[in-house]
């Protein structure tokens, strides 16, 4: 058995020709992040990335909430792979962390249980007449940004630094359980000290906070959030993380997983509403950014093109700290160019 120390966990990340699968949650809650990722990869790095309109859910949330059998999930994923093969790609890039974990799980299952692979091929053929190839690489978008973090740094207009003091900002990184814990060997820096977000933050001038509950789950829990009656589990787990990070005074939280981003943002709001408690000194809450938003901000993209207006915890105090200019008027602009009144909501 090969034994590696976390600093030596590396991973092969393809350097071009990506086939991008959007995430149900990312699209719904932070659509600007996916737009931003495509801009970074396509426009800034000049890579080929396919945004295929035919793609669809991997069923991940349905699978982990136990309403979709594993056979069905495997075959749906096989269809996604079939669409990829059709377009001539080999590098599957799922935006969602649950997809990333599940796709790896399915491919690993096929390696150990060839009969499951055969059954999936038969099911897909029978249902759709399709065939498929297993991707050469399953890469999460954060891996790609991490891989090109030095190239991106050269193009960046800002650093993760307090413009007034010149001090690095203090950053909590939250990696997402299904990115790091399902297949620790597929993670830069392993499950215990994943380096993918930490590597970006440190490369771009910030300081990563190592707090006791760093590895703890945000508390999505699938059925625990999806059912209104169960949401206490979800908020309790997020709260546990907030309380653990609070003494370190983080300037912001950067997240990998679409679900975690939303929960760490919304549960701060809920806790504030319920108890008046905020986890920063100013009473704003700790801003939560996706890694796409963080990268886009430092590259100088307009914060309102990134979608920061969709965060319940206002990002403006963070923009001020870094010294990123923004136009207050544009925050509430719609596609049609008119201001969509926020009052009353």
């Amino acid at each position: 058995m090969e034994r590696k120390f976390w600093k030596n966990y590396q991973k092969d990340i393809p350097d071009n020709n990506y086939y991008y699968e959007r995430s149900c949650i990312r699209q719904s809650f932070f659509p600007g992040s996916e737009t931003t990722f495509l801009r970074i990869v396509g426009d800034v790095l000049g890579k080929q990335i396919e945004d295929d309109q035919n793609l669809h859910t991997c069923t991940g949330i349905g699978y982990h909430a136990d309403v979709v059998p594993f056979e069905t999930t495997q075959t749906i994923i096989a269809r996604l792979f079939s669409l990829m093969s059709e377009k001539g790609y080999r590098n599957f890039v799922p935006s969602c962390v649950t997809s990333f974990g599940l796709l790896n799980e399915v491919v690993e299952t096929w390696k150990h249980f060839p009969e499951e692979l055969q059954q999936t091929r038969d099911f897909l053929k029978q249902a759709t007449g399709r065939e498929f190839e297993i991707p050469e690489y399953i890469t999460h978008p954060c891996d790609i940004i991490y891989k090109f973090r030095k190239e991106l740094k050269e193009k960046m207009r800002f650093q993760i630094v307090n413009q007034k003091t010149g001090e690095p900002l203090r950053v909590v990184e939250h990696i997402g359980c299904h990115y790091s814990k399902v297949f620790p060997q597929a993670v830069i820096g392993s499950a215990e000290f994943p380096q993918v977000l930490a590597g970006m933050v440190e490369e771009w001038g910030g300081q990563v906070i190592d707090y006791p509950e760093r590895r703890h789950c945000c508390g999505f829990g699938f059925r625990h959030y999806l059912i209104m009656a169960n949401r206490g589990y979800s908020i309790a787990n997020s709260r546990k993380k907030f309380e653990s990070m609070e003494p370190y005074h983080p300037d912001f939280i950067v997240t990998n997983c679409p679900g975690c981003t939303m929960f760490l943002d919304r549960w701060q709001y809920t806790i504030k509403e319920m108890e008046g408690k905020t986890y920063d000194k100013q009473g704003n809450g700790i801003p939560v950014l996706t890694y796409e938003e963080m990268t886009g901000l430092l590259l100088g993209f307009n914060p309102w093109d990134l979608g920061l207006q969709l965060h319940q915890i206002s990002a403006e105090p963070l923009l001020d700290k870094i010294g990123i200019p923004y136009d207050k008027e544009q925050k509430y602009l719609g596609k049609s160019g008119k201001i969509i009144d926020f009052k009353g909501f």
Binding site: R3, E192, D210, R215, P247
Partner: protein, 344 residues
């Protein structure tokens, strides 16, 4: 210029096994050449303070070793690594990193073990958090007579964790290292003797008190010293804002997850085949599971290997306690004597 040494037996490794075997072979009148890769003899005993279960001082043993090696017929070379052994007709040829060639009638491998590298159990943050140390580092503290925690001050709460690198498929070691359970009991008592007010928590999966006086020592540590035992393996250690160590485990007897903050976490690191053991076993085709040297027959010829004239003893074979390894060394002496007298 190449130097050739002719001898009856080449003994590789001057830890307890090698020394006891070499000493007894020499007393039987055989010419023995003993090689030690380190500058000092004593092997892993050098890293300890007192031995379980009777708190025998390691220094006393080392002194005894020093006296044993002055016996007639025995020549010791330290700072010399045997890099290769091979059979040539009826002789064994060993070569060292100093360019020497040793021609002998028999070879005894006593190349011992190496402690598990705790860095590989990443969830305990060894090498990252000051408050997380290995059992060998704790022995050093005991030698100096001073125990200090993560903040450099006297700890009030100390946790000891068994099975670090043992019984763990995640690091590829499915076996039990045999010595850690009782060593942890010994630590509990040693801590309480130096720091009577400190709270000590020993985390374990099974306490294997198999040796003579072990169970009694375990009871004494609970009854007289107030050491706490929690049945459950620590799942992770992380550093708190005030630089202490937060632990998560399950008290499996109460069936409840527990969180505890301590000033010092001692990892009881297990036993692995040493690099020399692995290298020489691989060369001679006697490597068994987990890189340990494999004997010809566990129940019938446990000091023999598949090669006549190549013998093995001690922790190069598997984890042993000190009395066991010394007994094994003496057993090897008898087998070697039989071999040299053409009786087997």
């Amino acid at each position: 210029m190449e130097k050739i040494i002719y001898t009856d037996i080449a003994v590789i490794g001057a830890g307890p096994t090698g020394i006891v075997a070499a000493y007894n072979l020499a007393r039987l009148g055989y010419k023995v050449s003993l090689f030690e890769k380190e500058e000092s003899l004593g092997g892993n005993i050098l890293k300890t303070y007192k031995l379980f279960p009777n708190f025998q001082s390691s220094n006393e043993l080392l002194q005894l070793f020093g006296e044993m090696i002055v016996v007639n017929n025995l020549s010791l070379q330290t700072g010399v690594t045997v890099t290769n052994i091979r059979k040539d007709n009826n002789h064994w040829i060993s070569t060292t990193n100093k360019g020497e060639t040793i021609v002998s009638k028999a070879v005894l491998m006593a190349t011992g073990f190496k402690p598990f590298d705790a860095h590989y159990k990443e969830e305990y943050g060894y090498g990252i958090y000051n408050g997380v140390i290995t059992s060998l580092e704790f022995e050093k503290m005991l030698k100096c007579g001073e125990i200090y925690g993560s903040n450099g001050i006297t700890p009030e709460k100390i946790a000891i964790l068994n099975c670090v690198g043992s019984r763990d498929a995640k690091v590829g070691n499915n076996y039990c290292s045999r010595v850690c359970c009782i060593n942890a009991v010994k630590f509990g008592i040693e801590i309480k003797e130096i720091l009577p007010k400190a709270e000590v928590y020993c985390f374990y999966m099974d306490l294997r008190m198999t040796g003579q006086f072990y169970e009694e020592l375990y009871r004494k540590s609970q009854q007289e010293y107030g050491v706490n035992y929690i049945r459950g393996k620590i799942s992770e250690a992380s550093q708190t804002a005030d630089n202490r160590i937060q632990l998560k485990a399950e008290d499996t007897l109460l069936r409840l997850p527990i969180k505890m903050t301590v000033d010092l976490l001692i990892l009881m690191i297990g036993i692995e085949a040493s690099e020399s053991t692995k290298e020489l076993s691989a060369q001679t085709g006697i490597m068994g599971e987990y890189g340990f040297a494999k004997s010809h027959s566990l129940l019938k010829a446990d000091n023999h290997t598949i090669h006549p004239g190549l013998f093995i003893a001690g922790t190069c074979k598997r984890p042993f306690t000190y009395p066991e390894t010394v007994a094994d060394a003496r057993a090897a002496v008898v087998e070697i004597q039989h071999y040299l007298e053409n009786k087997t």
